[in-house]
Symmetry: C2
C-alpha cells in the first residue's frame, strides 16, 4: 500500500490555451499538422543552439498568451523547467518576463509537474492565471548528455531521438478549455536500468507506478479514459509499459499511446521514437488539446515521464531513477 499521490481540485483550473513550437523533423512527422509553429532553423535565428532553445521557449509562452487573448502582464506566475544544466532555458526566458517564477526540474516529466503545481496555485486562489512551460532541443541535449553532433556516434536500435519542441499551457481560474481535474504526484522508481540509450525502459516503471496510484486513489480504471498518454517512452518503453500494466491487471489497449512513439514516422529513422521534455509538452499543447476541443476526448490521462540520472551519476555506475507525474484532464 502506497501513500495517496492524487490531488483533487475543488476549483479546478482550465487550460485556456496551449502553444506548441517544434523543429523541422517534428513538423515532418505524423503530428505535423497539429503543431502551431514549425521552425526550419535549428538555432531559431540565434548564434548558438542553447540560445535557440531559449528563443523557442519564448515563442511558446508568447504564443500561448496570445492565443488566450491575454497580455504578458495578465500572467501572474511562470512555472518552467528544462533539460539543460541549471535549467537555463527557463531562467533566461523568465528574465525577460518580469513575473514570479518557479523553476522546476523533473527531467521530461516537467510538463505535468508544472501543470500539477500550477493547478495547486490556481485552485488555492493564489494566482488567477499561470503559464506552464517546458521543452527540449535535439542539438543541446545531444551535446550535453551524449556526444558532440560532429562525432557521429552510432546508436543502438532501441535509442530515442530528443525532440526539438516546446509547449506552453496557460492555466486560469476562469475561461474556456479542459479542466485539470486531478494531478498525480509521482514517486521516484528505479527499474535497475543503467544503459543511457534505454531510458524508455527505465521510465516505463515510473509510468506504471503512477497509473496504478492514480487508479487506486480515484477508483477509476483505464476504461474511464478516452485516451491515456505517456510522455516519451518510445516504442520499446511503451511495450514495457503495456506489459507492466498487464501484470497489474490493467489492459491499456488502443486507448494508450506514447507521445514519443507518435512524434516520428518509422521512415524518419528516429530509432524507437522521440524523447525529451518537449515531447509530451508539444503533444499536449497541440494534438491532445485539439482532440479535447473537438469533443473526441472527454477525459484524458497524461503521464509525462522523466529519467533523473546525470552523466556524472552514470559514469559513477548508478542506475537510472525515473519519475512520472500525471494529470487528469476533462473536457
Amino acid at each position: 500500500m502506497g501513500k495517496r499521490q492524487t490531488i483533487s481540485f475543488t476549483r479546478p483550473p482550465r487550460i485556456v490555451s496551449g502553444m506548441s513550437v517544434v523543429g523541422t523533423k517534428e513538423g515532418e512527422g505524423p503530428l505535423g499538422k497539429y503543431f502551431d509553429s514549425i521552425e526550419t532553423d535549428p538555432k531559431f535565428g540565434e548564434k548558438t543552439f542553447e540560445k535557440g532553445e531559449a528563443t523557442m521557449f519564448e515563442r511558446a509562452i508568447v504564443g500561448a498568451i496570445d492565443k488566450a487573448g491575454l497580455k504578458k502582464f495578465d500572467i501572474e506566475a511562470l512555472l518552467a523547467g528544462d533539460l539543460l544544466n541549471q535549467c537555463v532555458s527557463s531562467s533566461y526566458v523568465a528574465r525577460g518576463l518580469s513575473m514570479p517564477f518557479l523553476g522546476l526540474y523533473n527531467a521530461c516529466s516537467t510538463m505535468t509537474e508544472a501543470l500539477a503545481l500550477g493547478s495547486v496555485l490556481v485552485d488555492g486562489g493564489h494566482f488567477k492565471r499561470v503559464a506552464c512551460l517546458t521543452g527540449s532541443h535535439f542539438a543541446t541535449a545531444e551535446r550535453q548528455y551524449r556526444y558532440p553532433l560532429e562525432y557521429g556516434c552510432q546508436r543502438p536500435p532501441y535509442a530515442q531521438w530528443t525532440v526539438t519542441a516546446s509547449g506552453c499551457s496557460i492555466l486560469a481560474s476562469e475561461g474556456e478549455g479542459p479542466i485539470v481535474a486531478n494531478a498525480v504526484i509521482g514517486r521516484v522508481v528505479d527499474y535497475g536500468i543503467n544503459d543511457l540509450n534505454n531510458m524508455g525502459a527505465a521510465m516505463a516503471a515510473a509510468a506504471a507506478d503512477t497509473i496504478c496510484a492514480a487508479f487506486d486513489d480515484t477508483g477509476m480504471d483505464e476504461r474511464d479514459f478516452d485516451a491515456i498518454f505517456t510522455g516519451d517512452l518510445g516504442r520499446l518503453g511503451a511495450e514495457i509499459m503495456r506489459d507492466l500494466c498487464r501484470e497489474r491487471g490493467l489492459e491499456l489497449g488502443q486507448r494508450y499511446s506514447d507521445c514519443g512513439e507518435m512524434m516520428y514516422s518509422r521512415q524518419q529513422k528516429c530509432y524507437c521514437g522521440g524523447s525529451g521534455a518537449g515531447c509530451s509538452a508539444a503533444v499536449l499543447n497541440s494534438f491532445i488539446l485539439s482532440k479535447m476541443k473537438s469533443g473526441e476526448y472527454k477525459r484524458v490521462l497524461l503521464l509525462a515521464t522523466g529519467a533523473l540520472m546525470s552523466p556524472t551519476t552514470s559514469y559513477q555506475g548508478e542506475t537510472i531513477p525515473s519519475i512520472s507525474h500525471g494529470v487528469i484532464l476533462e473536457a
Copy 2:
C-alpha cells in the same frame, strides 16, 4: 508597479522540525554550535563527493523526520532540489524514500522555493506533512562550476566559498513550531554582472527586488521584523543589498544579516563568505529556528538567493540572472 508576488495562507503550515548537516569547515565557523550534525569526512563515508552529497541530504531528511517524532511514512511529499546537474542529489535521495517527489531548481534560492510550494500544498489541504530539502557541497560544486580542486585555482578577494551543508524542514498542518505566514515568489532579475566570482552582487539585486515586493504587498516594512536574512550574498553582496534597499528608502540596519556572511569567520579565509543552496538551508534549520523557539525572534523574513546562470551560458557571454524567493516566518 509590479504584480502581486506575495502569497498569504489561510491555514498556514508550521515548521515542526528542522535539521542541519554540515562539513568540518562550517562546523568550525561562528554558527558551529547551532548545527545538528558536523561530518568530518568530506565524502560522508561514500566513494565520491557526489554520493557523499546525496548521503548528506539523506541524513538531513532522516534527521528532520526523527526530530519531529515522525516516521518516513508520515511524510506525504518531498520537495527538493540542488546545484548538481540534473539535481541528482535530490533525485537519488528521493529514490530511497518512496514518497511523492517534486523536483525544484532555483539554484541557491531552492530552500525558500520549497517552503513556498510546500506551504501552498499543506495550506490547500493536499498533504498534511511535507519535507523541504536542499543543500550544496564544496567539492562537487567546485568541480562542476569552476575548476578541479587539484588545479588550485587562485580566487579574487570578492569570491565566495560553497558551503558543504544540507538543511531540511518538515512542514505540517498541525504541531508546534513557527508558521509560514507568507511566501514571496521572486522574479528573475539581471543586474548585468558577468563575473562568476561575483555572484553576490548579481543576487543582491534579486533580494532587493523581492524585499520590496514583500513590503509593497503586505504593507509591512523592515521595522516589522526582528530579523531579515538573505541567503548567500556574502560580505560584498550584503553591502550592495543594504545600498539597494537604502536607495528605495529601506534602512535594514542591525536586523539584517546574510547567511553566507555568518557562516565563516574572517580567520577561515573564505573570502567574502559562504555561498550555495546549503547556506540558507542550514542557517534556517539551525540558528534561525533556534532563535524563534527561544522567543528572541517573533517574525523573520528569509530571502534565499539564487544565481541562475550555467557554465555554458557564461562561456556564451551571458550575464547572470538571479532570483530570490522569500518566506515570512512567525513564532
